[in-house]
Amino acid sequence: MADPHRSDGDSAISRVTEETIAGTGVVFELVLVEGGSFLMGSPDDEVGRDTDEGPRRRVSVDSFWMSTHEVTYDEYAVFRYENLDSNVSQADSTTFNADAVARPSPPYEDPAHGMGNQGFPAAGMTQWAALHYAKWLSDKTGHFYRLPTEAEWEYACRAGSGTPFSFGDDATALDDHAWHYGNSDEVFHLVGQKGPNAWGLYDMHGNVAEWTLDQYAADAFSLLPDSAHSPWVEPTRLHPRTVRGGAYDDDPDALRCAARLRSNLNWKRRDPQIPKSYWWNTDSPFVGFRLVRPVKPVSGEEQENFWRLVLGE
């Protein structure tokens, strides 16, 4: 891992760091999200609210690094195409073999629907494919990367705010912070074109919606115990799973910090085969993802158990 290149004077620990994907020249940036507690969900009177966003619950999460930008095509491509990858790994503990990596099959059509590749968000993959990327990246870097839980995602999106959007409650200010239906020309845009939130995260609202690690349950919040720590609704079914943040083709309501989107099989509607592709959705170019890296060390065995659980392998 590259050395931290920027430090926060108030903190002993640097707030921004970079990861270079070994042997590929691809670099991405991460910001430290200090653990803490927050009110998850939205209040009953929030405009545009759906009932599945409540009741609000106090939830705490541990510290984690989160990629400042949505995972880009460039990052995903070195996993997707073996000829762009290298047989190099930074991890001491793993033996990386580029030939043995499970990589995405060719998609039926362009999963990004022609909206762009270099510098644009990686889009249209299934949650399973996003997780496979995370596993590959973990093997490649020796750091444990995974999708954020819904709680981690919302905590990071809010960046300390309790308002519908991280910048406040005025949807008319959204144009400064997000790509949505009203300003996107119905395509996703290069990552990082709009202002970041208070913790330095870009495009949490809009551009592409983002996979989380959770099974979607409409009543997930009411089932949470008081002051839940690191909650995660472990998936047992393929759909629905929870997607957050809203996208370029959504109206502002869907971009709120608390808004929850559920995955469904219609996102593969134009995939003509049964079984449909495990890797690609033909019809969710509006979904991408970003990754987190827990600060607390996660043992090799815990990681193995995690991958077995989430990848079903």
């Binding site: 362009d110 022609g114 099989l265 509607r269 003509p272 449909k276």
Partner: protein, 450 residues
């Protein structure tokens, strides 16, 4: 449904089994089966699947999910393992959004006993007599044989595109299409853009003249390519080619035919006709070697239509390149830059379809087909358009393989027959590898393409 009425009704089984003349006359009257009557299995529309790959399995699932009283009762494939896989995928609830229990669970309407599973080149013959509707999703080379047999036996048909791989096959489809019309058999072809909201809305407006007369267009299927099935020890050459069918022209027609047909069909739809001439180039640059048979990995064709306008076509199977599967047209009063979008001549939007929650077009084609069959209506006659779209793509392949201008009439009259003389696993397929395992690849300027 009213019980008295039910007793009077001719059972669909008898009704479809009747002679052609009788079928025709009965088809005119509405068959009184309502969607509520669904689950009485005696009245079920019996469906047979010929070709149990991923697409055939998809088609069967969509037929079963069509909202009509449909039962899957017979299946055919060249290979037993493909048939078994298909059935287990149909029974796997993860593959469908349908409720996993109760009356709407389509799995309760899958009833394919072992004696109604048929394997081999002739398996289709055994399925057809057992059913009312035939789903045909074998590799495209077999389509003319299977469609002819289904029409001969007075069955309604859903068949996948393309409908042939050579001109003799297209002519057989056209002849059978004419018969299916006389017999008033519903035929839907899996050119599903015709059943997709965004295309219906878009082409409808173009036909209304919103952007004037269409003076040019571009159509694309630029993608990464498809699966490769490795040669297994002990396979005969015929079995290997049947397993890895995408890469052999007698089975697949090359990807300009197998995939790009969708976009060429949209061009014909927009232009309300087929091209009269084609000229183009193509080759094999990235996907080379024995496991990719004989087909090209790229084609670029200019198609001339009867009114003197041109449609430019590109298709490519290469990873890590620009991907685009789309169509665009220019009119005298504006442009249609992508499906669902229309601009006036100053570039201002005049139509934009917001299709995020649109229905699955593969489901819609089955919903509409089975609704027509259930009500005794004759509504769908897609075979001729399917044949014309197929011929358009084959004409493009003839142009890229030969390197010469190809005229429609000459292309359609071509007697170049790609099919084997004998269908058996110990028979020689029409194209064979050399001693290094490589297959002969077409060479422009040399290859006789029609």
């Amino acid at each position: 449904m009213d019980k008295t009425e039910n007793k009077k009704a001719v059972s669909r089984r008898d009704f479809v089994k009747g002679s052609a003349a009788v079928v025709g006359s009965l088809m005119a009257s509405r068959f009184p089966l309502s969607a509520n009557a669904y689950y009485s299995s005696d009245d079920a529309i019996r469906v047979g699947l010929i070709g149990c790959g991923g697409r055939g399995t998809g088609a069967a699932l969509q037929a079963l999910s069509s909202g009509q009283n449909v039962k899957l009762v017979a299946m055919a494939d060249a290979f037993r393992d493909r048939l078994d896989e298909s059935l287990s995928n149909l029974l796997n609830p993860e593959n469908s959004d349908a409720p996993a229990d109760g009356a709407l669970d389509y799995r309760t309407r899958i009833d394919v006993p072992d004696e109604q599973k048929f394997v081999g080149f002739d398996a289709y013959r055994q399925v057809i007599p057992l059913v009312d509707v035939v789903l045909i999703a074998t590799p495209p080379g077999f389509r003319p044989i299977h469609f002819e047999a289904a029409v001969e036996a007075d069955k309604h048909v859903f068949m996948e595109k393309p409908v042939a791989t050579d001109a003799p096959g297209v002519r057989r489809i056209l002849a059978a299409a004419e018969k299916s019309r006389q017999k008033k058999l519903n035929v839907v072809v899996g050119l599903q853009r015709h059943y997709e909201t965004v295309y219906r809305e878009w082409v409808g407006r173009i036909h209304e003249g919103v952007i004037g007369d269409i003076v040019s267009g571009r159509v694309y299927w630029n993608g990464e390519g498809v699966w490769v099935r490795e040669r297994q020890a002990g396979q005969t050459e015929m079995e290997y080619q049947m397993r890895n069918w995408y890469y052999f022209n007698w089975l697949c027609g090359d990807h300009i035919v197998e995939q790009h047909i969708h976009n060429l069909d949209v061009a014909n739809w927009v232009k309300k006709g087929h091209p009269i001439r084609a000229q183009g180039q193509g080759g094999r640059q990235v996907r080379i070697g024995p496991d990719s048979g004989q087909i090209f990995d790229h084609h670029s064709v200019e198609y001339e239509y009867a009114d003197g306008t041109f449609i430019q076509s590109q298709c490519r199977h290469m990873p890590v390149c620009m991907n685009r599967v789309s169509e665009a047209f220019q009119g005298t009063l504006g442009t249609a830059p992508a499906p669902g979008e229309l601009l006036d001549q100053w570039g201002h939007s005049i139509f934009k379809h917001r299709g995020k929650d649109d229905l699955n077009p593969y489901q819609v084609e089955h919903d509409e087909l089975f609704a027509a069959i259930a009500s005794g209506e004759y509504k769908y006659a897609d075979a001729e358009n399917g044949a014309v779209a197929t011929m358009t793509a084959i004409m493009g392949r003839m142009a890229t393989y030969s390197g010469n201008i190809v005229n429609w009439d000459a292309a359609l009259a071509s007697n170049l027959n790609l099919m084997p003389e004998r269908f058996a696993f110990d028979a020689d397929p029409p194209v064979l590898p050399d001693e290094k395992g490589n297959y002969p690849v077409p060479v422009p300027g040399v290859t006789q393409a029609l």
